[in-house]
């Protein structure tokens, strides 16, 4: 029946505009701008604390971004929950280990995909912390506040991404 068919995607303009309104509401109600990458610092701090709490307590960066559950931590967890709920409700939830564009270039190799995702994640997070933000903190929240740092970082994200994507997936035709 039709009900079992996956729903079509929402317009990026409608969803993007609603996300903009949600951000404005969040700033009004909680005084909080969207961001995500600091949460990974706090989570890493938690994990390292389990191994050696004394060492973590002495590290300058964990003194700056203390391992604790804060607004942003809950926000990032909420994004995952919202996505889970929306994908189940719309019939678009799908267990997938190798994305289509990746398979088009490298084949259905889940191990290679996981390895590149791991390396990419490590590099991206190091860069995000050096830049002091990610596409949420700089790309959305920074640019909309007219922060010069947001524009410099956003240009960097896309320049770095365009070059490496061309090198890695250059043979994809779409």
């Amino acid at each position: 029946m039709r009900a079992t068919r996956p729903s079509r995607a929402w317009s990026p303009y409608v969803a993007g505009a609603l996300a903009g309104l949600l951000l404005v509401l969040s700033v009004y109600v909680s005084g909080k701008y969207f961001g995500a990458s600091t949460t990974y610092v706090r989570a890493a701090g938690f994990i390292e604390s389990a191994a050696d709490a004394g060492r973590v307590a002495q590290m300058a960066y964990f003194a700056k971004e203390t391992p604790k559950i804060d607004w942003q931590w809950m926000f990032v967890a909420g994004i995952a929950l919202g996505s889970l709920a929306a994908s189940l409700a719309s019939g678009t939830f799908r267990i997938q280990a190798v994305p289509r564009r990746f398979a088009a270039r490298f084949g259905e190799r889940a191990g290679l995909r996981a390895l590149l995702a791991f390396i990419g994640g490590a590099v991206a997070m190091f860069g995000a912390r050096l830049a002091d933000g990610c596409p949420s903190g700089h790309g959305l929240s920074g640019t909309l506040q007219l922060a010069a740092s947001g524009y410099v970082a956003l240009i960097g994200f896309f320049l770095g991404g365009l070059v490496v994507a061309r090198l890695v997936y250059g043979r994809i035709r779409s």
Partner: protein
């Protein structure tokens, strides 16, 4: 209470990201290959709506800006490094958990990598603090500041230019079928 607001806001954002399909690897890499601008359309619309709304709130004294300082060394170099990693991963820090939420299990390896990257940065931080993070430090400056415009009306001139420019860019994408 603040934690609850964070969770609810995140759930709302996650639903919008998922339904617009901007979380997907294929969309994110599609944008970096310049063949599918869906994520750019989403981001740009969010930015333009948020820009007008937040600055209205600020003018009405209902909210405050929270600016990150412009440090060219950190922002530019970190930005480029992030971009390189992003192209390999195909998800970003906010959307990796969401990708896992819609069943894309490769995001899990990416999230593990991000934890390692965060830990590595914490190790490197003391040596970066005296070097890269001091290069081109201009403090918390905005575009109107850099253009020498007066804070109040200057902001709205810049916003008007960005809104018009953004809409023209979106129209260009639509005409090209991107």
């Amino acid at each position: 209470m603040l934690l609850l607001f964070g969770l609810v806001t995140g759930i709302g954002f996650g639903i919008l990201l998922q339904r617009a399909e901007v979380i997907r690897f294929d969309r994110q890499i599609g944008a970096l290959m310049l063949v599918d601008m869906t994520i750019v359309k989403f981001m740009l619309t969010t930015i333009l709506v948020g820009m007008v709304g937040v600055h209205l709130l600020v003018d009405l004294d209902l909210a405050r800006l929270s600016l990150k300082p412009l440090v060219l060394g950190g922002n530019a170099l970190g930005g480029l490094i992030f971009g390189a990693g992003w192209a390999l991963l195909g998800y970003c820090p906010g959307t990796a958990g969401a990708a896992l939420g819609e069943g894309r299990v490769d995001a899990l390896a990416g999230m593990a990598g991000m934890l390692v990257g965060a830990a590595a940065y914490a190790e490197a931080y003391p040596s970066l603090l005296g070097t890269v993070l001091t290069w081109g430090d201009y403090g918390k400056v905005t575009l109107p500041d850099l253009l020498g415009l007066e804070a109040g009306p200057g902001r709205w001139i810049v916003i008007a230019v960005l809104v018009v420019g953004g809409i023209l860019l979106l129209r260009f994408f639509e005409k090209r079928g991107l």
